[in-house]
């Protein structure tokens, strides 16, 4: 288990071309790029609140072509939370995630510990309804069998992107983390978070 530092590291995994970079870029910069360039590894930083203090959210965008198994293990051992992305238009990309999940499980220890690690299974490209190969229910079932949470997103239409990261940080039980820099005395929780969103 990585030490509690001033960083909170989120690692994004998934097969090639499922839209990991698009998701992260949509969240960090609010943009969607049409270009088609494979990622090697990118890290984005953002300031968030943690235990009523400021800390850095580090989002590591990994390569999808699993070219670097060694690097994959490295980022897993360093990461605090994980987002596993597949594409709704490709069943293959969902199957691809299983080995990654297994590596996370091995690296992070037993089942008990695994439950405390925030992992989100994400079905991206949910806007492409005509090409859909994996239904939301299937994704949900898969997430249940892995013991993690599930969400469908679309980086293109900005559907559920912010909610995804909010939910992920909510899953962290050891720390009180939220996307917004909270004022003193504010409570954690989704409701609070949403209220805050509305205020902003």
């Amino acid at each position: 288990m990585p030490e509690q530092s001033n960083d909170y590291r989120v690692v994004v995994f998934g097969a090639g071309g499922v839209g990991k970079s698009s998701l992260v870029l949509r969240f960090v910069k609010g943009t969607f790029r049409e270009s088609y360039i494979p990622t090697i590894e990118d890290t984005y930083r953002q300031v968030i609140s943690c235990n009523k203090n400021i800390c850095t959210l580090q989002i590591t965008d990994t390569t999808g072509s699993h070219q670097f198994p060694a690097m994959q293990r490295l980022s897993i051992s360093k990461g605090h939370a994980f987002i596993l992305v597949y594409s709704c238009t490709s069943r293959q990309s969902l199957e691809e995630l299983r080995p990654i999940w297994e590596v996370i499980r091995e690296t992070k220890g037993g089942a008990n510990e695994l439950a405390s690690i925030p992992i989100m299974l994400v079905g991206n490209k949910c806007d492409e309804t005509e090409n859909r190969e994996v239904s939301a229910a299937e994704g949900e079932a898969e997430a249940k069998s892995w013991g993690c949470h599930f969400m469908e997103t679309s980086a293109k239409t900005n559907h559920n992107v912010k909610e995804l990261f909010a939910e992920l940080l909510n899953l962290e039980k050891n720390r009180n983390i939220s996307l917004q820099l909270e004022k003193k005395g504010q409570l954690k929780g989704t409701r609070k978070l949403k209220e805050k969103c509305m205020v902003m």
Partner: protein, 625 residues
Amino acid sequence: MSNLELFDNLISKYHFLINNLSCTEEFMRFVSVAEEERLKYRDTVNELNELKELLKNTQTELTTLERKNDLVRQMFDKEKAARIKAERELETKVTLINNVMETIVNGEGNRISEETKVQLSDIKNSFRRRDRPNVDLGGGRLSIVNEGETTNSIVSDISYSMSEDLSEDNLLDYEVSRPRRELRKSGPRSSLRASDVYNRSRPFPEVKHIQLRSGEEKMTATTTLTYQHGKLTATANVDVSSPTRKSKRVSEVIVPPQEEMPPSAPTQSSASSSMEFLDLPDEPGSSQLSPNMVMSAKDHIHARMHKTQPHKSILPVSCNVCHKRMTYTTNTVKCIICKAILHGSCESMLPIPCVPVGCTTPAQNSKKPNLNILASYTPAEPPMIPPLVIHCVVEVEKRGFKEEGIYRKSGSADQVKELKKVLLAEDAKHRVDGALSSADIYSVCSTLKDFLRGLDEPLVPLSMWAWFTQAVSSGDEDDARSCLIDAVSQLPQPNKETLAYLMLHLQRVAEYPDTKMSHESLSIIFGPCVIGYSTKNPAENCAQIDIVNKTVLHLLNIESYYWNSLISSSVSNIQVTPTSYRSVQHTPSTDSLAYRTMGRKMTTPSLTYTERKKKYFKRPSQFKF
């Protein structure tokens, strides 16, 4: 007491004075010697100063000369680049002129005067002479084309430019070189235009337009090729519209095929110029800079025919094509290259290309884990490319050019495992084609990547890692290119040929916009497979990613004819080494040479991989009688 002391003192002084004479002499001598030495010293110092001055002057001179040398080297490099460009242009132009000659001679054989005919054939011969490889391209140039006097020739007094697309994506403008005087005379510079972009994917009928223009007159040549029932019909229309000339000439030529060629066999590059109309690459993507190089290495590998022999097998085997059982009495043939066994009647259905089987299999190597290198998988004779690579590439080129994110998206892990097993198995030829065509195309890509990544050493051996990566770190594009070419040439043969084959394939992939895979994207994907990392430490690998990808990008940017020449030079029966490449090559500049020697100092390229492991039979440990 003091008196006594005084006395002693006096006595000693007295003695001293007694001996004084000799002392003085001694002292005088010493002084003179010292004086001599001093003079000598002064001279030496003067000389030293002079020498220092001289040294300074020489050094200044040297720096000036060095600067000049650098300048000259730069200019030289530039000139060389220009020369290479010019040579290439020249070659294409020569071919085009030949084509036009042919059109003219065939098209209006009875219209033009004898004199012109003779001149045309002279010109053509002068070009033909140059078409032979190894002829010094520098000699003669186009000054041979002496058209200045022939005012009645059709091509003489019109400024003559034409455009023709050699490949779809490479619209080149050509202008036929003529004596400068003519050009200046001929009024406004003619416009170059691609009159018709014809589609290469439809081989026949072929329509080719050539437009020649000058200030007042216009000449349009249209050649139409149709191929029917083994007969090639070429129709040439030449329209000349000018106030003074006749306006229309039409003629039809029927050119019988030169010889019965197997349908997929590429045309010989030595075909006469009349056959050059036939030299159409069968693929839209194959961009060839020189139309002379008809048979690329890819064609050679992808169109290799099977070599079958009658075969008798005592054990019943199943046909590789129809999968029916064959017994000893069945008419059985076997390809001696790829070892496929099949019915004699099924021979026509055996898929092409014929891929030679590798000499050893990983099953044998598994006991000796250090043999998991490229050379263990390659066939014994050139081109030494592992069959797995050829199979995957052929399959990807068959179906993958329309797929978005080919090589980027990953295939099913199970399928990859299965494919790898089938492709590396000893009896691969039995099931390869079925397994490949049923597999997802992304799995095929992943199999290729997985195979390359799974080798103990990447395509570029670890010993040469520094050499390759340093080549591109200098920053200068030309230097990087020549350094890489230099480094590639030092690779062991299996690695060199596989690398060349892979690069050619990736360049073709990048040519298709549907794949959305640019050279940059492909270099990111293939960086770890081709170049790999110098260490096993993942943290250090992160730092090396950039340079590794940059290296692959540079490799991808090296022109395809260089890669072609690498493969074809090892294949004895084709001679397509481009003359332009052979004659002019960029020489690395000083900086890059320094890199190279640095790289060498650290590592000696291990050429031992090319050596084949011999199979020995295990000797029985003990004989018992």
